[in-house]
Amino acid sequence: MEWILLFVSLSLLAAFLLLWRRYVAMSGQLRKKETLFHVSMQLNSTIRKKELLRRIMDTAALVMRSEASSIILVDRDKDELYFEIAIGEKGDQVKEIRLRMGEGIAGWVAQNGEAVIVNDAANDARWSSKVSNKVGLPTRNLLCVPILNRGTVIGVLQVLNKRGGQHYDNDDRELLETIAAPTAVALENAQLYEALEHSIQVLKETTAAKERMESELKIAGDIQMSFLPKHSPVYENGRVGVYARLKPAKEVGGDFFNYYALDERHLFFTLGDVSDKGIPAALFMAVTMTFIKGKLSPGGTPAQLLSQVNTELCKDDPSMFATIFCGILNEETGELAYCDGGHNPPFLMRGDGRAIPLLGRKGVPLGVLDTAEYHDQSVTLEPGDRLLVYTDGITEAENAGQEQFTAGRLQELAARLSGLSNRDLVEGILAEIESFAEGYPQTDDIAILAIQRKNQKG
């Protein structure tokens, strides 16, 4: 009878032991799953990298019953590892420490892609006391696993000093690896998010800079336009007709023109080109125009005017200059006194259809040399004759083939359109430039002025 009792007891004991082992195993698995769940909740709780790292380390230290935990990330460009932050009693001190690939336990793990258990840190050849020295936290033992993303080591996850003086074992290693696995993806996402935030910031700054520049361009454009004659583009009386147009480039280049009656008989006109672009050019142009208006006096000649304006401009040692052409037309006699300050020679369009460059003694542009000399020249416009003044925005207009329009082509065009009115002549030239450019953007201001001595009636 005792045999049966013994047999049953042993069976029960065996069953109990089996169940117990099963229980322990399942308990272990349950613990693992709980940990995974907990970790995954943490990983999904934030997309911000710093926050994420902190949570991973908090979780790892907690689950692994360790005093401290660190994540050390790999910097592929420099072949180094770096601490972002660390927690534990001395957490705030481990801010930015760099290790060479292969240096210390972390370096070894990163290099070899394998986990390491070190239960006696001081006596391990691979151990580098760099970090613990800096922090003053003596390391007794540690467990380090690689964080793998698609086969590449992107960092290592470490836990230090298992509580209760205990050692790390393989179960611990498996558990930490379980934590490390989803960490990789979460880190990648956080890094992508960080990159995205950075791009957005750069975009914001670029947009702000662009808006600032555009408003500056607008200001330059407004300044330029405010200095044009109020009755632009046409000025007409019985004896002369003027038609003038300014086509600014996107980046205002400081072309200018103006004309007004000095008295009942004399018409003054000027056209010029400042060497720079944007607001500085617009301001220089504004100053020049103001001096011109101010220095113009009855009986004064064009050369005297340019000389005085030049002297004023040069007082401030400008970094810019302005080419300029100006003239005073006697509306009754047709006599034109003119002066050239380094400007493109205008075309004299005779009534018979010829277009000839108006040459003469060259002066230099305004603002170049305070002792520069300017010279008056003179020519007579017969009834029907015209003077076409323009800036190099026309002759240097480019198309996609880097071909320029050239003065020669302009001369030929002017001759061809010579039978037309001032307006049709100027608009015709502008249209021709546009079609020549074939959509290629206009890089320089265009200014063009046609002044005609009318044919006497009868």
């Binding site: 810019m320 200059f321 380094g342 400007h343 060259k362 230099v364 542009p365 190099d392 240097e396």
Partner: protein, 112 residues
Amino acid sequence: MTVDIIQEHDSVVLVLEGRLDGNSSPDVELAFARLLEQRQSRFVFDCAALQYISSAGLRVVLTAAKKLKSAQGKLALCQMSEPVKEVFEMAGLHTILTILPTRGEALTAIRA
């Protein structure tokens, strides 16, 4: 646009090659500024390989001339092609800049 810098004893020859326009003028400006910092004061701009110069390019040359004037330096330009020379003449700059046919003459002129 490329700028070659050749030291000829106490003078510097800047050999300009290509197009001198709004895009390339900063390079020339920079090269010149650096040489000025090194206390160079005698310059020749060799324009033999200069295909084209725009008003922005003229501005660089004029600025260089101005800076040299205040530093009591000398500048001469040489070997200009006809089209490039015309651009300078149209701006009236041939009346205030020293423009000579050969590099030798230019070097002599700045040492005078």
